[in-house]
Amino acid sequence: MTHTPAWEEIEHTADWALHVYGADLRMLFENSAGGMLSLIDGEADPQGTPFRQIIELEAPDQETLLVDWLNELLYLIEEGMLPTEVTIRRITGQELEAEVTGGPARNLKKHIKAVTYHNLSIRRTSEGYETTLVFDV
């Protein structure tokens, strides 16, 4: 069963927070990326050279893996590359392999400094997984 919407913005006084859902860990990680990219709200320049990148990560636990994953995407954006499609090809609680494609970033509406660990926990629910992400903006 898939939760709709896959993510929703929740109240946070100084920063941004997202509640994210996923039927499985793979979906949770993809939806977290989708939610974060929707906050940044940029576009890939269709005239520019597209990119395709494989990201492989290891972490001691699944929360750290999630923060690492999103920080990888933020780093790509900071380098001027906007992911438009992210696919988690393989994931366990401590490892992932993902394929990211996109193009040169332009018209970014928002800047996210980093993904935080604030009260971060990935929870199992009857529908799959959920978590709350707080971004420093």
């Binding site: 940044i40 380098e79 970014l108």
Partner: protein, 482 residues
């Protein structure tokens, strides 16, 4: 948490005793009026304050300033002091924008002189001071030069011609933390930082042209060169992608390291290690490098601001020059000595959205400021007043030489974005005589004055509690934002 959980210590001091939660090691104190306390109960900021009271090695109490609001890990407005001997340093506590801070430059230009040129000046400032998401700067540095910048901070800027000697003297720590160690910084942080020197960034960062509306302390104002009816400039920004990456790297690395030191935390973002541990020293070296980056960054921006003033105003006003009033950090961990139970103790003071406010006599101040105390720069929200204060003996006695840093948010960003339109807000500000240049209208809406507390009330609390003294109040006439 409820109001009844607090013990009222004095008119502006409220204390949560350590019995409130089993894991508290020290009491938690909030500086606030009754109204600001009630506002703080509206979000998670006070629970975050209690969380900071659980950190190892703390002395006296965990503190929060009246501009407290919900952050991640520490509340914004949080201050703790941890013994260097057996306490901790927390990259999560300092936050991602290491040495985010404020610089104020002042002039003898009157409002009547600048008014006909204000719109041009705002446009030239917007053009000369790169701002917005991911924007690079005009400086092309090689790795050797960049390493020097990381070790020397404002001194690097002076050497390169971006600073006057007086600027450096009138900067917290003379714009250079000696503990900087660029070898403790990742390649990623180098890559992110090297192209962003002299840029403002986005979010709540800004450059603002202000009118000094009122002077409250003639002697202090004279020492700082503040004249009623004249123009000042504020620059608010930090260490850009460089600091963000340093924090990201160490928060990540310490997730494993913390197990070695058997530290239990109520929130993973409070991640910390013993200050004296190899990991703690590595972070301190990297954090100092990021702090130096921010000092240099604000200095290069000040250079661009001066160039803009010269380009627009030279020959049109009596004297277009801008002199530095001071430059302060409000996200930082500093090694300082403070009195605790009659003894001098070396502590790491973490100020997360709080400003150092050292009182008169402090040797680190330039001679002209020693009799009056350290200038404290408190920007208000966009379109409302900002304040210049000075540190007091009271801040040394009560708050590890700390005070507030701004107005403090009260409305969430998502609510501000939903209820306020950026273009409408810009028109309202323009109609009230404030020139606005902004790269992002949704970004402008999130920073609307309605989203912040009343800075005048915040200042009333810190001056009423004796942890700062009023010097001058300024109102904005031009705002430049990313």
């Amino acid at each position: 948490m409820r109001k009844q959980d607090f013990k009222r210590i004095s008119e502006y001091i409220w204390e949560i005793p350590p019995t409130y939660r089993d894991d508290m090691r020290v009491p938690a104190r909030l500086y606030a009026s009754e109204r600001l306390l009630e506002a703080a109960l509206g979000d998670q900021s006070l629970e975050q304050l209690v969380n900071t009271a659980t950190l190892p090695g703390l002395v006296r109490y965990a503190l929060a300033m009246p501009d407290i609001h919900q952050g991640y890990g520490f509340p914004i407005g949080g201050v703790v002091a941890s013994r260097t001997s057996d306490g901790i340093i927390s990259p999560g506590g300092v936050g991602y924008d290491i040495n985010c801070g404020v610089r104020v430059l002042a002039s003898h230009i009157t409002y009547d002189e600048i008014e006909p040129h204000l719109s041009d000046l705002a446009s030239v400032l917007y053009q000369n001071c790169p701002s917005g998401v991911g924007k690079g700067g005009s400086l092309k540095l090689d790795r050797k030069q960049f390493e020097q910048l990381l070790h020397e901070g404002a001194d690097w800027a002076l050497k390169e011609g971006y600073a006057l000697p007086e600027d450096v003297k009138r900067t917290e720590e003379s714009g250079r933390l000696r503990g900087a160690d660029a070898s403790k910084v990742s390649k990623r942080a180098w890559d992110r930082g090297i192209s962003q020197v002299g840029t403002l960034g986005a979010g709540n960062h800004f450059i603002e042209v202000d009118l000094i509306e009122e002077i409250f302390d003639e002697e202090a104002a004279r020492a700082m060169g503040l004249v009623r009816g004249c123009i000042a400039v504020q620059i608010h920004c930090g260490s850009r992608g460089f600091g963000h990456q340093v924090c990201t790297d160490y928060v990540r690395a310490f997730q494993s390291a913390i197990h070695k030191y058997n530290i239990q935390l109520p929130d993973r973002q409070l991640i910390c290690v013993p200050f004296k541990s190899p990991e703690g020293q590595d972070y301190y070296g990297a954090m100092c490098a990021a702090a130096n980056y921010a000092f240099a960054n604000r200095q290069v921006l000040a250079f661009h601001v001066r160039c803009s003033f010269e380009a627009v105003l030279a020959g049109k006003v009596g004297d277009w020059h801008l002199h530095q009033v001071y430059d302060i950090a409000h996200n930082m961990a500093k090694v300082e000595k403070h009195e605790v139970d009659g003894k001098t103790v070396e502590v790491v003071v973490h100020r997360k959205g709080a400003t150092r406010a050292f009182g008169p006599g402090f040797e680190g101040l330039p001679p002209e400021y020693r009799p009056i105390g350290q200038p404290v720069l408190v920007p208000g929200s966009m379109g409302t007043a900002s304040w210049i204060l000075v540190g007091t003996p009271g801040s040394m006695e009560q708050t590890f030489g700390s005070t507030c840093h701004g107005a403090g948010r009260t409305m969430s960003r998502s609510k501000a974005k939903k209820t306020i339109r950026g273009d409408k807000l810009r028109n309202e500000l323009e109609a009230s005589g404030i020139s606005v240049r902004a790269g992002s209208m949704p970004g402008l809406a999130e920073e609307a004055p309605q989203a912040y507390k009343d800075v005048d009330e915040v200042v009333k609390v810190v001056s009423g509690a004796g942890i700062a003294r009023k010097v001058a109040r300024m109102v904005p006439i031009a705002v430049i934002k990313g």
